[in-house]
């Protein structure tokens, strides 16, 4: 013990110095650890964004090469806000996003809670929840289109047997029917995503917490509010963030099921139409940038909700 006394002051100084250099080292290690991700993202993801932005500042309609594709600044963006069809697509997209995310959260979270308990066959149920997510969107959209078919669709069949409807309906022929069909199909496919992630979050809550709470006499509701919810909140928010962004960018589901008919043209579909159908690369690129901006905005909002929980240490 005495031998250490003279070294203590030395250690103290060293520790003071190494604290800052420790911090620096930490920061450097952090950047090294993040570098592969950064490199890939820069190479692959950033170039298309820059190129698209550049194109959006020009008038570029491919079928009119003689125009020389002049620079027009933000004219394309102004055009979006004067375009009723673009506005309609934004409204529809927002409606769709809010409704689907709401139901996905409800059903996904509920399913995760159910599966968190140990019961016979839990493994099978857990494997099953991935089935909707596992089927490629193009295949499942076609499958559901078949299900909604007015002549021999499963949907009509079941509803008729349950006496909910009298005769087979043409669900996809109206705007409300189409909306409902799209929501059901999307929720079916993606609630499992939320369920799986929520479950992972629930599984990481130490069982000891539940045990000691029970010993303290807490009831199920209190346990849920004070232990489960707070600890799983952030996982759920992150899952929701991704789902919101995906829902906002909905594309394949719509092109396969309705083609954008009956008021179901989403922003991505309209952007696509401008870009690839009308070959108006300038305008289509501007719309892509708009989608990007909204995505960024939504992420910001979610970040606020997360506070600094994710990165606080």
């Amino acid at each position: 013990m005495e031998g250490k006394v003279p070294t203590i002051p030395l250690k103290k100084t060293r520790r003071k110095m190494s604290k800052t250099s420790l911090e620096k080292k930490e920061a450097r290690d952090a950047w090294i650890m993040m570098s592969p991700a950064i490199i890939i993202l820069l190479l692959i993801a950033v170039y298309p964004i820059i190129r698209t932005f550049w194109i959006s500042l020009h008038e570029m309609v491919l079928t009119d090469p003689s125009s020389g594709y002049p620079f027009i600044g933000f004219e394309n963006y102004v055009k979006i806000f004067n375009d009723q069809r673009a506005m309609d697509s934004i409204v529809f997209t927002l409606k769709f996003t809010v409704v689907t995310v709401f139901f996905e959260l409800l059903l996904g979270f509920g399913a995760a809670m159910l599966m968190n308990k140990a019961f016979k066959g839990r493994g099978f149920v857990r494997a099953s929840i991935l089935v909707p997510w596992a089927i490629p969107t193009t295949v499942s959209a076609l499958m559901w289109k078949f299900i909604y078919n007015d002549q021999y669709g499963l949907f009509n069949d079941i509803l008729t047997r349950l006496h909910v409807i009298d005769s087979y309906q043409a669900w996809l022929s109206s705007s409300s029917g189409s909306f409902m069909a799209l929501v059901i199909t999307d929720v079916w496919k993606t609630a499992p995503f939320i369920a799986l992630l929520t479950l992972a979050g629930l599984q990481m809550i130490p069982k000891e917490l539940y045990e000691s709470a029970k010993i303290d006499g807490a009831n199920k509701f209190q346990i849920f509010l004070n232990i489960t919810l707070p600890l799983v909140k952030y996982t759920v928010i992150v899952a929701l963030l991704f789902r919101t962004l995906d829902a906002f960018r909905v594309f394949e589901l719509i092109t396969v099921m309705t083609g954008g008919a009956n008021g179901t043209e989403s922003l991505s579909v309209y952007a696509y139409n401008n870009l690839m159908k009308f070959l108006d690369f300038g305008y289509g690129s501007a719309m892509s940038m708009l989608i990007f901006a909204v995505v960024f905005l939504i992420s910001l909002i979610y970040m606020k909700a997360l506070g600094n929980k994710l990165t606080d240490f």
Binding site: K25, D29, I32, M33, S35, P36, L62, T63, D64, P65, N149, D150, Q151, Y152, Y168, Q169, A170, L172, S173, S174, S175, T255, T258, G259, G260, A261, N262, N273, M276, K277, F278, L279, F281
Partner: protein, 433 residues
């Protein structure tokens, strides 16, 4: 110390990526080795991209070509049968000046668009006037833009009215030639168990709708554009024609018809539930295929006309072959040789026989073997001759989109027919400026 471990991590990652690329590259060299292996010195390889719609028969034709000579080797790049997917794939490649595909099978409606974008090689120098005259004039017209031949027709198509011959016989009536004539049969089929709907066609918001609608217009003495190319969609004849279409949709067709493309509508007819179906000529084969409920019971005739129509016109479809403007001369030459093969009498005949796609070469329609195999072509030739093209324009995508939206709204009951057509008229006028 920590650094070292960090580096190790990075190195492992990089190695992993490299390994994967190597595995990847082996996929690449494998296939490019095939073509350059073995055969003659000056063999040029060209790539031909088309869709799975006629995938199998085309592959056979291509194989035959490759075997028949050793100057050109054609590799096929098959895309899914989805007009949008195919269009987009071509656009993505051509917009970046890509030379990985030399010959493409392009839907006739896109020819003007691609030509205007400057992506198509001028073919006038390779196929002279007398050659061109051996082909159906409508198809040559459709392959011409601004007076230049920018594509060469491969096969064509036109719509036909297929109907249940057995039911017509049973009812003891003549095959109707007007829309009203068909609608009048509604009363009579009520007593029959099997037939639920008199009418059946495609009214989903898609290109199919455009084809259907223009036929109603043409068959009632109207048109989309007048001689000078200005839109005239809201004339009284056109309003009348669209009202007839709406009537059929609401009262005589399957309930979901505004969501039907060809597959859905065909299903209904094949189940024996509709009296007629308007569809592309190739449906003849499906209707009479083994296992079809209606095999042997199907008749074919021209489309009906409306009160102000004189003769029926079917919409023309089909695929043209185009050559990528950006490839080098050696490949262009090879591509032209391939095109000549595809347009030759022998190949046109064979293609028709194995693919059930109508040829563009006139003489094939009179070929004895073909008529023996497909007697239906005798009647069909008249239909093809009377076929009309949809309005050709570099802006066709926008025109089609405008038609799809407005007409679908009218057929869904969301707007009045007159309002929809007025709206369409103003949108087309905008585009024309």
């Amino acid at each position: 110390m920590k650094r070292g471990k960090m580096k190790k991590l990075l190195v492992t990652l990089i190695l992993a990526i490299m390994m994967v690329s190597i595995i990847g590259c082996s996929g690449n060299t494998e296939s490019s080795g095939e073509a350059s292996n073995g055969e003659g010195n000056e063999k040029v390889t060209i790539r031909f991209s088309f869709d799975q719609g006629v995938g199998e028969p085309t592959q056979k034709i291509v194989d035959k070509y490759n075997e028949s000579q050793d100057k050109v080797h054609v590799e096929t790049v098959i895309l899914p049968q989805d007009a949008n997917v195919v269009h987009d794939d071509f656009v993505n490649k051509l917009a970046s000046g890509d030379t990985s595909v030399d010959v493409m099978a392009l839907d006739v409606v896109y020819v003007a668009e691609f030509a205007a974008a400057g992506w198509l090689e001028d073919l006038g120098q390779y196929f002279d006037q007398s050659t061109q005259s051996r082909y159906l004039p409508g198809t040559i017209e459709g392959a011409t833009y601004n007076g230049k031949l920018v594509a060469f027709p491969w096969f064509t198509n036109a719509s036909v009215l297929f109907y249940r011959q057995d039911i017509i016989d049973q009812l003891g009536v003549e095959v109707p030639t007007t829309y009203q004539g068909w609608m009048d049969l509604e009363e009579k089929i009520k007593d029959l168990d099997e037939i639920k709907y008199v009418s059946n066609f495609q009214a989903a918001k898609s290109e199919a709708l455009v084809c259907n609608w223009v036929e109603y217009i043409w068959n009632n003495g109207g048109d989309v554009l007048d001689e000078s190319g200005s839109p005239v969609v809201n004339t009284s004849n056109n309003v009348e024609a669209t009202e007839i279409m709406l009537d059929l949709v609401e009262n005589y067709s399957p309930e979901g018809i505004t969501t039907y493309n060809e597959p859905e509508s065909e299903q209904v007819f094949l189940d024996g539930k509709s009296l007629f179906i308007r569809d592309w000529s190739g449906f003849w084969n499906s209707a009479n295929a083994e296992g079809s409920k209606v095999a042997g019971k199907v008749g074919a005739t021209t489309l009906p006309i409306g009160p102000n129509g004189e003769e029926p016109h079917s919409a023309l479809g089909g695929l043209d072959l185009v050559i990528n403007k950006f490839i080098d001369d050696e490949h262009k030459e090879a591509a032209v040789d391939f095109l000549r093969y595809m347009a030759s009498e022998e190949t046109q005949k064979e293609m028709t026989l194995i693919s059930a796609q109508p040829p563009v070469l006139k003489s094939v329609y009179e070929d004895a073997d073909v008529l023996a195999e497909i007697p239906f072509y005798e009647k069909f030739y008249g239909i093809i001759e009377g076929g009309k093209s949809r309005p050709m324009s570099p802006k066709y995508a926008k025109v089609s989109d405008a038609i799809q939206r407005n007409i679908h709204q009218a057929l869904s009951g969301e707007t009045e027919v007159k309002t929809a057509l007025d709206q369409l008229q103003s949108e087309l006028e905008e585009l024309n400026k």
